[in-house]
């Protein structure tokens, strides 16, 4: 219901105005959508099995192998298509979890205030000040390789972003007259938080969500690049890029370049989308 109101407000604005921001949003959305489709249809559209040998090792891009083959003779295009699934699953998992944890804590902390708020804020601020990648590395080392543990590591990294945003908004929204009115007619704290305050915060969340998703794609790729990702032979962009690294000096560029390009495209999609949304939903934030 809330999301449909956001979408309709976007559509309403789209009808009347055009400008760079709408193109940003549209292009970003199109990029993300095509990656989602690629992930859903992976088994149908990938020409070869991503984990089986398809040709000679390190064949250069040709009609038969549009992106060439890697060091083990696997088709890079097929690996990229299947790799989309992993990236999107990890991003989705971590975004959902950090959203579900960060938003309620932020709401509670901002609304209730007091000592609890100071303690939680101090903790979250310290977490936020710590470089996300380093934190993710520490968690990934401890949790071991695998999709779930990667998702968990990223979750912890992004909880503070939601927390800070929601807390800040809750602090300002709770000063409004309608909140006071709700309290005056005897609404419980829970009702005030979720029925009166939360709906006023929701419109700002898609921005954080999509910008965080962009960041999560990069961090996930960085983790697997370092070797803390998914175990081989599962296709994984960051790890594939790393595996192509030793061949660079022999001018064999395709095993690294293509997976890296995909990481950049997907991140670009999410950030263009978030960027456009920021200007559409929250014009005051960026008005000059």
């Amino acid at each position: 219901m809330l999301f449909s109101s956001i979408i309709s407000s976007i559509l309403r604005r789209l009808k009347f105005r055009r400008g760079v921001k709408y193109y940003f949003t549209f292009i970003g959305f199109a990029i993300v959508l095509s990656f989602v489709l690629m992930a859903l249809l992976a088994s149908f559209i990938s020409p070869y099995n991503p984990v089986k040998r398809a040709g000679a090792p390190l064949e250069s891009p040709s009609f038969k192998f549009p992106m060439g083959t890697d060091g083990l003779g696997r088709d890079i295009l097929s690996r990229i298509i299947h790799g989309t699934r992993i990236v999107l699953r990890i991003t989705l998992l971590s975004m959902t979890l950090s959203f579900l944890i960060g938003v309620p804590i932020g709401l509670l902390s901002g609304y209730l205030g007091g000592k609890l708020d100071s303690v939680i804020s101090l903790f979250m601020d310290s977490l936020y000040a710590f470089p996300g990648l380093v934190l993710a590395i520490a968690l990934a080392v401890m949790l071991g390789p695998g999709e779930i543990s990667m998702g968990m590591s990223l979750t912890v990294v992004y909880i503070p972003t939601y927390f800070r945003m929601v807390r800040g908004e809750a602090l300002s929204v709770k000063e409004n007259l309608f909140v006071e009115a709700a309290k005056a007619i005897g609404a419980k704290d829970r009702t005030v938080m979720f029925k009166y305050i939360l709906p006023n915060i929701i419109p700002s969340l898609p921005i954080i969500l999509s910008l965080n998703a962009a960041d999560a794609v990069l961090t996930a790729a960085a983790l697997s690049f370092i070797g803390l990702g998914i175990t081989a032979p599962t296709p994984d962009w960051g790890f594939d890029l790393r595996m192509g690294y030793p061949y660079l000096t022999s001018k064999i560029w395709w095993p690294s370049t293509f997976p890296g390009l995909m990481i950049v495209f997907l991140t670009l999609g999410f950030s263009l989308f978030g960027e456009g949304l920021t200007e559409i939903l929250n014009p005051r934030l960026v008005r000059r």
Partner: protein
């Protein structure tokens, strides 16, 4: 509040921050996962696991472990490496730190200069094609995957054109006499021209990679604040007095747009650190990042933990320094 009181208070405030960060690291490393299986692998025999648990003190109650851990860290004992001669972790970190520092400084300078210049350029041509171009540039730098950019630069300038080296800090046997550990500075101090050339040549590609990643945020920020400042009355007045556009933009506008940019410089430290880890790994740059990723692969748990604690201290220290610098620059910031 006098300046001295403020600085003293700010230093005191760093203590809870350090404690919280150490607690987070402790929780992550001891509670979220099992250090023994991280060291020995999942399929180690049971006796070995028990022995290792005893050795690491994991059989003690959690609060005793935590106090012991705090005591060790605060007395600057980060333990000993689990592999290769088992040297003290801090000693090894200190060997790798200058390389990271050198890369970070040069990349930061590159990023800030490029970012501010493109931001000014963009703001002065608001709404024109070049402005849109730099806005897209700002978004692309945010979306760039550092290892990919590094690899592309290595391919173009190292492999195909052959202009620049693609890995390491300096050519073999060229390292200057160690004074500061920063090769460029050391070769300058010892008037060692061949070393200087070699060090700079090795520094270029990693600097551009990391600097490009950092520059975007400064482009966007400078653009936004310059646009804001350029509308003010004193700019109109300066123009009316017939000052050259260059003087108006650089002397009157930029100076006033500078404080928020400075704030962002402090905030970008975390990004710089994370970016340095990836840049170093891509370019085999022998700094903290390469060291960390290498030890992760060897399951050298104490070193990994020690390095992360070191990063935590760095973060607190830098935020402290930045906050103190602000007060000197802008006396209004005091709380």
């Amino acid at each position: 509040m006098s300046l001295r009181v403020y600085v003293a208070r700010r230093i005191l405030l760093a203590i809870p921050m350090i404690l919280i960060l150490l607690t987070i690291v402790f929780l992550v490393m001891r509670v979220a996962g099992d250090p023994v299986s991280a060291i020995l692998g999942a399929h180690a025999p049971k006796e070995q696991i028990d022995k290792m648990r005893e050795k690491l003190g994991l059989n003690d109650p959690l609060y005793i472990q935590f106090l012991g851990y705090l005591w060790k860290v605060l007395s600057l004992d980060l333990g000993r490496s689990l592999i290769w001669g088992q040297r003290p972790v801090l000693e090894e970190i200190m060997e790798h730190f200058p390389a990271t520092l050198e890369l970070s400084i040069s990349a930061f300078l590159f990023g800030v200069v490029v970012g501010i210049l493109t931001g000014i350029f963009s703001a002065c041509r608001y709404g024109k094609l070049i402005d849109h171009f730099f806005r897209v540039y700002g978004i692309i730098t945010y979306a760039i995957f550092i290892p990919w950019l590094g690899i592309s630069l290595q391919l173009i300038f190292g492999v195909y054109l052959g202009w620049l080296p693609t890995s390491g800090r300096i050519d073999p046997l060229m390292a200057p006499k160690t004074i500061t550990g920063l090769y460029v500075l050391d070769s300058l101090l010892t008037f060692n021209i061949p070393s200087l050339v070699s060090a700079i040549r090795h520094l270029i590609l990693p600097t551009v990679t990391l600097g490009f990643y950092l520059s975007g945020i400064f482009t966007r920020l400078t653009r936004a604040h310059m646009l804001n400042v350029l509308q003010r009355d004193y700019i109109v007045a300066a123009r009316a007095r017939g000052l050259s556009e260059r003087k108006v933009v650089y002397k009157h506008a930029l100076k006033n747009a500078f404080i928020p940019i400075l704030t962002m410089m402090g905030l970008q430290f975390a990004a710089l650190l994370a970016g340095a880890i990836l840049t170093e790994t891509t370019f085999s740059w022998p700094g903290m990042g390469t060291f960390l990723t290498e030890r992760i692969l060897y399951r050298d748990f104490t070193t990994v933990q020690g390095t992360i604690v070191f990063f935590a201290f760095l973060v607190v220290l830098v935020s402290l320094i930045v906050d103190i610098i602000y007060v000197y620059i802008d006396p209004r910031i005091r709380y």
